[in-house]
Symmetry: C2
Subunit: 81 residues, 2 copies
Amino acid sequence: MKARVYVTLKKGILDPQGQAVCKTLGRLGFEEVSEVRVGKFIEVTLEENDKARATERLSAMCNQLIANTVIEDFRIETLSE
Amino acid sequence: MKARVYVTLKKGILDPQGQAVCKTLGRLGFEEVSEVRVGKFIEVTLEENDKARATERLSAMCNQLIANTVIEDFRIETLSE
């Protein structure tokens, strides 16, 4: 099964990388951009056919390694084969 | 309008970060994971109400700054307010 994990900074957590991209876009002529937040998009291939079980395992992976849950949120999306 | 941009490494491009995450997950007991690919997930807030125009502008932003189109693909998703 394939799954997608989205890791984003929690609301209120400063995102200097996003701010840098936002400022640079403004300098390049994209003045309509008011905010940019940069997160991670992770594609995981795993040998597990049960969606509920896969989500549970992926959640454990996020909590233990993929996300820093002090400052980041994560969202899991499992895809049908 | 808000938009989401997904930046992923093109197929065939080596992803050492993903490999490192994959190996570490294996060591942590997640042996069912066979592949991990790490990409970027960017949330953009822009003053533009026309979806087609927003997509066009975002595509230009990706080509000029956000993505390295030699090795990366990008996908744009515009969200209704």
